[in-house]
Amino acid sequence: MVLVLLVLLRAIIGPTVIDRLISINAITNMVSVIILLMAFSNGNYGLIDIAFVFMICAFAGGLWILRVLTHGDWQLRIPGLKGFEGDRGEVDSND
């Protein structure tokens, strides 16, 4: 619990965007671990599934934040279509 607050302080004072992103990632990891421990301490074993869903939702949310931050185009790319194969650079295709 105290470690979550310390990481949240790093997320507040972090000078760049990357600090805030890795702080959010660490906070979600710690919260999922706390949910797992609560499931076994109360004998309320349905909370393991909640930890699952929390982890997957945090991953999807982080991916979406990175996709918005990274510049690229929003077009729908169809692989067999002509003219769309090689016009994107090496940097933009890794998001």
């Binding site: 990481v7 790093r10 965007v17 990357i18 992103l21 890795i22 699952f52 991916l63 890794n94 998001d95």
Partner: protein
Amino acid sequence: MINVIAYICFIGSLLAFGLGTLGLYKFPDPYTRMHAVGIGDTLGVGLVGIGLFLLSPDWILRIKLIVCLLLFWVINPTMTHLIAKSGLIHGTKPMEETKMMKE
């Protein structure tokens, strides 16, 4: 006996999370901070999973825990890699002593 091993695993995971948080404050650079946090979180979640695996009463919960740990061990390095790549694209500069590899 099993309880003692499980509590040792819990204390080790708390130590791993604490060291990750300490590295978050001590390192001078976003990428080194990312390194510390990624390693600490992966080790901590693995140790908590081992401890709960020893404490769990039947096999359905153990199978759920194994699936959860495998999912976490896929997700967390992927997330760290994506954040680092997005930071390099986005223009966050590393420390001045960092040597970049030329292609």
